[in-house]
Symmetry: C3
Subunit: 357 residues, 3 copies
């Protein structure tokens, strides 16, 4: 679907300069631009970035001075906020990437005891088991499995093939990406008579409002009490949160983070990729763990830590710097040993000479 | 569903003290207790923990002395083993979280050449391909995919949307959690003429009795011989076991462990979260790798190791301690260098003075 | 299905020695051999490996001298290339492990606006949404979800339960294993007024020809521009590639590698298991990152690096060696301090004695 510069200017309430009939069929960034696409400059201080663009139309901030440019952009549109504007265009041009579910697909299996809110859509081959409660306007995609007694708040989106185990409670506006598994059994065993015996896990996973959970992430159920993800926390793909964790509000867990059992975190914590935390650790609010950190002890409020075992990042950096000099330092120490031994010998020789004298 | 203290005491064959009509609708731990719930104290030495509980009924060990308590718990039930008893109650109160499959769902696709045991349940939209053999009392949940010639022993549980590739053999009482993938192709290529050419993988995955496998864990098939997980081994979520590994009995693999190809482990090994092991490494029995360890060489029997590259944990701890002092030590060495240079100068000056004299 | 030595020799155009009626029903390696199986020796220099084999028939390279053997292998077949030959037999003996889809399963849901090529097979309960374009001879297994406007080239294989989000473009001969998720939203938020606000991601994932992607691997879509995996790159299981990465041709990403956003890599790079790379890092072509490396800065062409933070591997190894000597070195430095202090004291005493004198 093509739009002309005139149509776009009108749609965005912008001011058109150049060829009103120039037309585009998609959006691109300035750095990866193509003819027949529309791009944008978000900050007028970076006006030089326009020099190389191949885009046919560019959105500019109002009163952006392009007089010094030698490039051949002929058509541009001034708008108040080019970045917001380009996202409006993206929503329009990429609209055909979206599912358009409507109502409950006839192949979806919804148990007769499930309670389904207004405006809920359910994709093909999804399964909603006995006793589930689905809030209004939820979007449950194809192949999703909701075990008995799962509760979803309003406006929840479950992407294809996600699995939620029995009794888990999901808040409002929660988004869960494809392949994520919520509420599998905690990893707990008793070792008796030479083998591991499974400890049943009866707690559930509680996910509060406005949480987003990435593809193939797994959050295990608690043993007696629940595993809890508090409001606003965002979890990336392939993250593990083990049984009975209590993850505070507005946390960020980047991909492949691993949380062992019964960890607590305060609000606004950040965990970089591959961070691992041992069981029962308490992480103070506003703290930040650098990618690949390994945490074996409690983390104080506001700490910024890295390395494994994790140390305050300034200290850790000094150690990393010193380690780079370590082989050299080893040489130095060896040399010092020789020097000192030589000095000691000299002194002792002298003393013996004196004595002899 | 509520139960009264009297009903619970009778159900557990316990001795009731307090209000026989006190009623509860769920279980909680002492640390996260609520009115209207029942909790438990497992060890009478921790009787102080009862002080703060809000639970309406508490299970106590027999002859637990609560005379010194100032709290207002009025209703408690003495039982021989409060922890076992609370798990009985959990099974009762949380029963509505369980699937109740019965027989083979009409939407399940079971190939006519598949052999299905007695008492097998198959959930909606599961697929059981040609030549599969399913043991008695298996529970195959919705959306599961069994490729041709998969064999399941008796009493296997496959949670929703698990995928098992062709020919894999699963023992008795094995539990596989949602999203796990058993038997995908090993990651092996030949690099010729500037590109990688896929090596077909014809081995299968063999999983012995009493193994449990976590959500979104992947175990790849072997090339010619099989990948084997021996009896009783427990594998957490998001673990990778590559082609041709031979994982011994009663091993513990915590979340996000990664095993490269052709690793062998003895019995009773333990691998903490994020542990990674290079291909062809042999891990001796009863050894233990601390979370985040990176292993590039064989591990002797009974070793406890950590760090990357992994070292015996006592040695590793000494190194970690020393590293923390490394920046300080660098200063010390620099100072020593200056001191020694100064001494050497003094001595040489003196010798020159003597010569001059 | 059993084959006799005579049948196999004919099938492989090999030269039979021994019992033409010896029969086998499967293949094994020499190291894990069994009676009733056929094995192979790929290199005649390793002829000693035949001593212990229990295989009933063995494939040998032509003119392999087995005169010195004391073992009782009676039946062997000379072929030009035993390894290729054994793979031909494996394909034959293990054929019953393969799916045999034909055409579009009646339970598959294919939107009427989707364009399906010649010879495409679609398994049960797969979903192909509006606007998808599926190339010739694609194999789409059961439970797969293709969102609107997904494009597959010819000869693509999608294993069961894989999920591809809207608009993603997959090249020719691409293989994607079970549970992989292609095109989930990038992990990007704006933090304003105390909460994280989701940034919509409108880019897609572009996967070029001859790429293979492992089980439960996740590759996120770009924000405006696309995430790109160039031709011939092979990605193992449980790998994370974040939004807007541009992964060069013929790269190898081993299991559990994590790439943050907007990383670029050149051709022929290799990333060992658990390697993690920070956002916006550029990795030069032909470079190699050892398992568990953590990369926070650009990597030059052809570099071989390891450790976290990553350093050139030779340097890193020297540091690792030095670290092992660190506790000992600390003792040495302490001893040196004492020695130097003692020397200084001696000298100053002497000087004072002189002065006094």
């Amino acid at each position: 679907m093509r739009l002309t510069a005139a149509e776009i200017a009108e749609f965005l309430s912008g001011t058109l300069h150049g060829d009103a009939n120039a037309s585009v069929d998609d959006v691109c960034s300035l750095s990866q631009s193509h003819e027949g696409k529309i791009s944008f400059l978000s900050d007028s201080r970076n006006v030089k970035e326009l020099e190389q663009t191949a885009a046919s139309i560019v959105l500019l901030p109002e009163q952006c001075d392009i007089s010094g440019l030698t490039s051949n952009i002929k058509t541009f549109i001034e708008v108040a906020d080019p970045k917001s504007a380009i996202f409006e265009l993206l929503a329009w041009f990429r609209e055909h990437h979206n599912f358009h579910l409507s109502g409950i697909d006839p192949t979806a299996i919804v148990d007769e005891t499930a309670v389904i809110g207004q405006g809920v859509t359910v994709g093909p081959y999804a399964r909603i088991a006995a006793g589930c409660k689905i809030g209004d306007n939820c979007e449950i995609h194809g192949g999703v499995s909701l075990a008995p007694s799962v509760v979803l708040g309003n406006n929840v989106i479950l992407h294809p093939n996600t699995v939620i185990y029995g009794g888990c409670q999901i808040g409002e506006r929660v988004i869960i990406h494809a392949g994520a598994v919520i509420g599998a059994d905690g990893f707990g065993y008793e070792f008796t008579q030479g083998t591991y015996h499974k400890i049943q896990h009866y707690g559930v996973v509680v996910i509060e409002d406005d949480v987003e959970i990435g593809a193939c992430t797994t959050i295990d159920r608690g043993m007696i009490d629940n595993t809890i993800i508090h409001r606003g926390t965002k979890i990336d793909n392939l993250v593990m949160v083990a049984h009975n964790c209590d993850i505070g509000p507005n946390n960020i867990l980047v991909s492949q983070v691993g949380f062992a059992g019964s960890i607590t975190t305060g609000e606004n914590c950040r965990f970089g990729g591959h961070v691992g935390i041992a069981d029962h650790v308490n992480v103070g609010k506003n703290s930040s763990l650098i990618a690949k950190a390994g945490v074996f002890r409690d983390i104080p409020e506001g700490a910024v830590m890295g390395g494994a075992p994790a140390l305050p990042i300034d200290e850790q950096k000094r150690i990393w710097m010193a380690q780079m000099k370590l082989p050299e330092m080893r040489q130095t120490v060896r040399k010092l040993q020789k020097q000192v031994t030589a000095i000691e010998k000299q002194i002792s020789n002298k003393q013996e000479q004196k004595k002899a004298a």
